[in-house]
């Protein structure tokens, strides 16, 4: 194999390939992280929907299964209680669906999950000592961040604009994830709520590379070797890949989500705030078509989720009311096991890079 043209992320995370498995809360767990790690990438455990005890348990299982580095991922949203007026407005907006499914519109709902990084999670980090901790929606308070760094973790977070990247690098991130408009799941945005001005990766990545001194990891719309090579061309030192792993048997998504991914289109996703209150990219489904995709009636994160619970539970078509997170390159994903996929992504990326300068013909393999 040819060498990777930029080794900064490889050296920083001590991985064989500069490929980070995107932590996808609710959609990925130990099995996917282990598979990616065994193939030489960085395995990630999303912790936003887990208790501290569950994180400890998953981290232990990961350590048992691989000698590779571990990334623990946490959300950093400001913790808030649900607001009664906002909840009432949202319940009213959803009333037709409650009635359609024979539910009482005012029946009590369970509170939304998704806890931000706090002292309890920080204690877990100090115990587990992951090689990498990645954050979403900014960074925790400086005192907590210092403890994470003191525990030996490399710190990473996502930027959806140059301003966010500069903010993160200035506060001590060891690398920054440039999250393009194409990316599936929650936008990492924390300095802006204006989704109409979010840049695509082709424009965002080189501008972030120029603006910060730390290595940049590209995310969004990358699902095969061509995307990996393009990210390196734009100045990235690594890639974070999420949607391409969703069809893998190791992912935790339900069958209806797999079915939606199997018929995904380039123009079949949109940013929506309906499912949690924060904008996130998913395959356009009934609720997004009829209510949104971006609605001022959805309460702030994470409190939009609660009122959808009864609908998901009562319906026979859960795909109508459940987020089908996916990026714009979902159609490029090929279902195979995640270890094989990771190896193939690396090999295809290197082959694409080699071909670009005429070192390899179109049919030749870089391994030969």
């Amino acid at each position: 194999m040819f060498p990777w043209p930029d080794r900064r992320i490889i050296d920083l995370f001590q991985v064989s390939h500069p490929i980070l498995q995107a932590p996808m809360a609710g959609a990925s767990g130990v099995a996917l992280a282990l598979a990616v790690s065994r193939a030489g990438g960085l395995g990630s455990l999303p912790c936003a929907l887990l208790t501290p005890e569950a994180v400890l348990k998953q981290a232990a299982a990961y350590r048992e299964g691989t000698a590779g580095p571990l990334n623990l991922n946490f959300f950093c949203h400001p913790p808030t209680l649900p607001d009664e007026a906002e909840q009432a407005r949202w319940r009213e907006r959803l009333t037709p669906y409650y009635l359609e499914l024979g539910l009482a519109p005012l029946a009590p709902v369970a509170a939304a999950g998704r806890a931000p990084f706090d002292a309890a999670f920080c204690a877990v980090v100090e115990q587990v000592r992951p090689e990498v901790v990645s954050f979403h929606f900014g960074l925790p308070a400086p005192a907590l961040l210092d403890r994470v760094k003191a525990a030996g973790a490399r710190v990473v977070s996502s930027a959806t604009t140059v301003a966010e990247a500069v903010w993160l690098a200035h506060r001590g991130c060891d690398a920054v994830i440039a999250m393009g408009y194409e990316a599936g799941g929650h936008r990492g945005s924390f300095l802006t709520a204006d989704m109409s001005a979010q840049p695509g990766l082709m424009a965002l990545l080189p501008q972030i590379v120029d603006a910060v001194d730390v290595p940049v990891i590209a995310a969004g719309g990358i699902a095969d070797g061509r995307g990996i090579a393009a990210a390196f061309a734009l100045g990235a030192a690594g890639v974070q890949i999420g949607t391409a792993y969703l069809p893998c048997p190791e992912s935790l998504i339900p069958e209806f989500h797999r079915a939606a991914l199997a018929s995904a289109r380039d123009d079949g996703t949109a940013l929506t705030n309906l499912f949690t209150g924060r904008p996130a990219r998913g395959i356009i489904n009934r609720l997004m078509t009829e209510v949104g995709p971006l609605s001022p009636d959805a309460p702030p994160f994470p409190h939009a989720a609660a009122a959808l619970g009864p609908l998901k539970a009562a319906t026979s078509t859960p795909e109508d009311f459940t987020p089908l997170w996916a990026g714009q390159a979902a159609a490029l994903a090929k279902p195979m096991n995640a270890e094989t996929l990771t190896g193939q992504l690396a090999a295809e990326g290197l082959a694409c890079l080699a071909r670009l300068s005429g070192r390899l013909g179109p049919g030749e393999s870089p391994a030969s």
Copy 2:
């Protein structure tokens, strides 16, 4: 110099470099096209705001200045007359600005310009015999398209989705432009009006490459050699570059547009329909902030433009009411003359490609 890794567009258009200057109606004319052609790229003349006679004149000036191939660009929107009710609603929406500038809200306005490709333009094509004709908003009727092809022109059009690319290739386009969400100016969309589902170039380009048999030209967010190399990594055989040429002395934009570009940000543009009725990307200005950027009150293309005329004429801050077209990579553009810029784009693109496989060190030049 190393060779370009894909020669299909070079051979199709008979150019030295696979770089197309984007035709930018109102912002580019003969001088810019000539400069690009002299540097080995494809010069383009945007004809949407010209009379057939003016096209003949500009084409003659181009032929006199270069032996390189010529691209004539036309719009293909369905010709419609302004609707009175729509105009009244739009005038009402703009009334506060009329009053602020001391204008009578119901004063008559000039009709909007922008003519679609028709028999008169087709006769010009038959006379000029341009090597390339590119269309925006789809393609003309089959009888007109046949005449363009019979005149010897290679035909190209823009696709903002895979479905549009397949539609164009199926109807005989010799190449397809994959226009990413990042691109400045009017979206080429013609099968969809849903701007919330438009894919970024990183996701769109490889999916279009996989879906059509003709060569694909990448557009949107490409403003330096890194973007060119990334486009080739994703499977493009050429690039179309617009915004990067706007700061050149050869462009026709006013000073306030140059000033806005000089302080452009990655997150400083949005898609807006306020200026013409069709969604187009521009730097966020006062009208976009206060009215839109996408407003249901704007009449269909091109009839939103007319009512803005008096505001542009009366204001001392025309940047408030004039479209400041720009793509999301505007901040990467460097002001220099367009011939030098074209040569530099080609050299940087080739250097970036060479570096990716380790053939060149970070400091080395491909020309040495």
